[in-house]
Amino acid sequence: MSDDGFLTGVLAGNLAGLDLRAQTDLLIQAVKAAGDRPLGPLLDALAEADPLALAEVVCGTRSPGGSAVILAALPHAEKIEGVLSPRGAWPRLLELGGAESALPVLTTAARRHPGASWLVALSRKVEGPNAGLAHLTACAHHPAFAQACRNHAEAGHVEGLVLASGATGRAEPAAALLGVGKFDAMLRAAGAALDTAPESPLVAQLAAVWGPEPDDLFVRVLPILRQKRAAEALRKHCRHLPRTARLLDLVIRGMV
């Protein structure tokens, strides 16, 4: 078979006759020579036949890297994690893929490991000042969401938390910011959450961080309200917060 025929066959996922462990170099050369041709079929076949060979090609020491390889490998993250620890694999995939695949790598890692603390550092590397947004958006419905918010808050990822609050409509980012004493950022996050989800359980979340007498706190929160629906939803939970309730009644009357 000609070199080009061999290459075409391998890229199409035809691995017949290859000793995948012993001939990993051939596979790596095929990936390097692929040009614009899709890598999906080869990586699909490798994932099926030998995940260790897949991991070697995708993120081993001789891997050619590049965003095309890494993006094609993401659907096989589970197989790669079967042979490499997630804590080691994801930073390596990020490094090899470069900027173009960084966000998909981070998002996939976040979906697979929503509670992992190493995602905090990975997020900072990928998202810079907005660190936390992709991670928190990806795990908004996971039980680890609140802990992830807390981890990002402790790492100082203020903007990411505010953005995640708006993206998800969840109250946990605001609560996490309150927990680390970022009061103004908490207000911005709370406002963003209510803009997206007026029924967001802000009272319960913030009170659980603040203390047993949160009336003073919520009086300060009221200026962020922009929607009547959000004000009315908040009011339902304020019957034991007399100052807040009184002010909310006024605010609601003044809103259209």
């Binding site: 609560a175 319960a204 979340q205 009170a207 659980a208 961080v209 047993p212 007498e213 939970h237």
Partner: protein, 171 residues
């Protein structure tokens, strides 16, 4: 009562007071504290509802009325058996303490925070709404600020007590 370690230290915490003439009642407690904040807030609101309705004539009466009010908590919250509640009532004749789910109670004194009751006191019971109203106990020492501790809850450093109990400076 200090918050618990974790993401939501004050989930399900309540604190409040009632006053009519010389009779005063103050309470601090927690309910459903291990639930998610939304559920804990609902439980705490129910506890605030019942305690907010208490009236009484004298320190003994107001304590008994408070426990009678706790007994009217919705079953959903009572059956969790995780209520911890410290009541302090006073009138011109003295101070009474009564509690459920407490392991220690301290009172602020000129000498610092000191035990308001000795170990083995009927004040110290398992968590949960009591089947019968606990017998109120006079405080060993008079004072105006009490801290109740649940099991495995250490007394915070004196300088940290207010904040650890969620007592905040004015915003």
């Amino acid at each position: 009562m200090p918050g618990s370690p974790g993401r939501w230290p004050f989930a399900g915490h309540v604190r409040g007071r009632w006053e009519a003439g010389p009779v005063r009642l103050a309470w601090a407690g927690r309910i459903a504290h291990s639930a998610l904040p939304e559920e804990a807030w609902e439980a705490a609101t129910a506890l605030r509802d019942v305690l907010g309705s208490v009236v009484g004539d004298g320190r003994f009466d107001v304590i008994n009325q408070a426990w009678a009010a706790v007994d009217t908590l919705p079953e959903r919250w009572k059956t969790r058996e995780d209520l911890s509640l410290l009541l302090a009532a006073c009138d011109p004749a003295g101070i009474l303490l009564s509690s459920a789910g407490m392991a220690a109670v301290y009172v602020e004194s000129p000498a610092g925070w000191v035990a308001a009751a000795l170990s083995g006191s009927p004040l110290f019971t398992e968590p949960g709404a009591p089947a019968r109203p606990p017998v109120p106990q006079p405080s060993l020492r008079p004072g105006t600020r009490f801290v109740g501790l649940c099991k495995d809850m250490p007394l915070p450093k004196p300088a940290d007590i207010a904040l650890s109990c969620g007592v905040r400076e004015a915003l």
